[in-house]
């Protein structure tokens, strides 16, 4: 919750309660309105300034291209969504786990963290062949790439969040005889949660990147396939169509993660 909300909080809450549904509806309407305005600006700008379609095609052209082969986009969307979700979930879980492990076992951290950093410096696309070799052209292969891209920021932020815990609060818990597990579950992880979510929001985007790039290694369906196809046939309209679909997926997923964050991290920041 940010500072300017302070005074409006009580009033805002009261109005929100008295007309809860219209409020969420209003939000939706505002969103749709925003999208509509953006669409009009896009369409208008292209027409008005006579932008070459090669640089920026009209939105209507793009939407029509999508409507011409809707199955390709729907199937691609769903397939990429599945890969993204699996990669995100596993990467997030592993990232938090490694953050905790590194936090608890310093020796392990000093030994392995640098290797994690190194692992992140390897561009996966250089190893398309290896990925196919090890994992085949399966959904799993994409999920693994998504996983590979997501876990590291989560580990870094988990570690950071865990280390930012007020030592006085740790001392209090220890004075209650808390085991290190209890310390972790009841104090350190909740304290780190806001930080972890920053990374998870980032990971939401990164896992999609992983899924899409993963689809470049000889796959048959997915937004990445559509993007690649469009890219190499120099079909600018199709490039934009694939970009729009990916942006829709990415923004939706990001919004979902952010919504979960708002539910879980409800308390005000406090030292």
């Amino acid at each position: 919750m940010s500072s300017p909300a302070a005074t409006s909080l009580s009033e805002g809450r009261a109005t929100a309660r008295s007309m809860a549904i219209p409020d969420s509806l209003r939000k939706l309407i505002r969103l749709l309105l925003g999208l509509a305005i953006a669409a009009v600006i896009w369409e208008g700008a292209v027409l008005l300034f006579g932008i070459r379609p090669y640089y920026l095609p009209r939105l209507s052209t793009i939407l029509m291209a999508m409507a011409a082969t809707p199955r390709a986009y729907v199937d691609g969307f769903l397939r990429t969504l599945a890969e993204t979700l699996i990669g995100f979930a596993s990467g997030g879980a592993f990232g938090v786990l490694m953050g905790v492990v590194f936090f608890r076992v310093r020796a392990l951290r000093e030994m392995i963290f640098p290797i994690f950093v190194v692992s992140q410096t390897i561009p996966v696309i250089a190893f398309g062949a290896l990925v196919v070799l090890w994992f085949g052209n399966t959904l799993l292969a994409k999920a693994i790439i998504a996983f590979y891209l997501t876990f590291f920021p989560v580990t870094v932020n988990t570690l950071l969040g865990l280390e930012a815990v007020d030592p006085k609060q740790v001392a209090l818990m220890r004075s209650f005889g808390a085991s290190s597990r209890q310390l972790l579950l009841r104090l350190q992880l909740p304290t780190a949660l806001p930080q972890i979510f920053v990374a998870l929001r980032l990971a939401a985007s990164l896992s999609l990147v992983g899924a899409i790039v993963g689809e470049w290694f000889g796959d048959t369906t997915g937004l990445g396939v559509l993007l690649l196809q469009a890219m190499f046939t120099e079909n600018v309209v199709a490039i934009w169509a694939a970009l729009l679909a990916a942006a829709l997926l990415g923004t939706g997923f990001y919004a979902a993660v952010a919504a979960v964050e708002r539910r879980l991290v409800f308390w005000n920041a406090e030292q």
Binding site: D166, A171, L172, R174, S175, F176, A178, N268
Partner: protein
């Protein structure tokens, strides 16, 4: 009711000898010596910054004193860290968890002990009215007043039932009556369960009213300057504060504290003149 023995018994619950603690260049405690008998109520007063909270941190097991000091608990020599989980400790700052509401903050220690959450909540809910917090069980710390936060922290400590309680200025943010009610409540608990209590306060009246013994600490580096036994009969009525013995005790203690406070101001002025 008989006044508890104020003189240290043959086997004290807690014994500290030659305790030093330095933080970098700052010596917080130096040669501190004290012992607390089982069931005793000891209050601690002293100038601000003299090392009271540091002493508590050591007894709560949170900080090790410098090497060379002796720490004994229930007759056994031990490390400070051995005391973790054996002492119920209320820190000077409330340290409530912002993601837990009043009840869940209060039951923190119970949860750590392994009590099922629902059972712990039920137990805490019953105590809320006594702490003037009824109806606030669902509030989060940022929705509470300063005194209410302190009462939640206090409740959390009481629910963690241990033989030795360390309370660091627990009533600092309370108004006179709430404070009086809390004092009465504390004395009840102490007598009923024969707990041993170490209690930091800046209120000399409170120190005398509650304690079997008042420890006055010296200016930093802290040690015990004076151990004043309070042999007023119990139960003590509020009117006792106007009794001549009480006033005499208060005078003695105030003089001791003021002498030390003065020192700490002088020393800091001296320090300031030649850095």
């Amino acid at each position: 009711m008989e006044a508890p023995q104020a003189h240290p018994k043959p086997e004290p619950l807690l014994e500290l000898r030659a305790i030093n603690k330095t933080f970098g260049a700052v010596a917080a405690l130096s040669g501190l010596q004290a012992s607390v008998a089982p069931g005793e109520f000891v209050t601690v007063v002293g100038p601000s910054g003299c090392g009271k909270s540091t002493l508590f941190n050591i007894v709560a097991g949170l900080e090790e004193p410098d090497a060379g000091g002796i720490l004994r608990f229930e007759g056994n020599s031990c490390h400070a860290s051995d005391l973790l989980g054996r002492v119920s400790f209320m820190p000077q700052r409330d340290l409530l968890f912002p993601w837990r509401n009043v009840v869940d903050n209060a039951i923190l220690a119970l949860e750590v002990e392994g009590m099922p959450r629902e059972q712990a909540r039920a137990k805490a809910l019953k105590m809320l009215p006594e702490f003037g917090l009824a109806g606030f069980e669902k509030q989060y710390p940022n929705q509470l007043s300063g005194g209410m936060r302190q009462r939640v922290a206090l409740m959390r400590t009481f629910l963690f039932e241990r033989d030795l309680m360390l309370l660091d200025e627990p009533f600092g943010a309370l108004d006179a009556l709430t404070r009086a009610m809390m004092q009465r409540w504390l004395l009840d608990v102490w007598q009923k369960y024969r707990r041993t209590i170490l209690f930091i306060t800046h209120d000399v009246d409170e120190a005398i009213f509650l304690g079997d013994r008042v420890l006055v600490m010296t200016a930093r580096p802290g040690s015990v300057k004076l151990e004043q036994i309070v042999d007023l009969p119990r139960p003590r009525r509020p009117e006792i504060v106007t009794s001549p013995e009480f006033v005499r005790l208060k005078r003695t203690l105030l003089d001791a504290i003021e002498e030390e406070s003065m020192k700490s101001f002088q020393s800091s002025i001296a320090q300031e003149k030649m850095p």
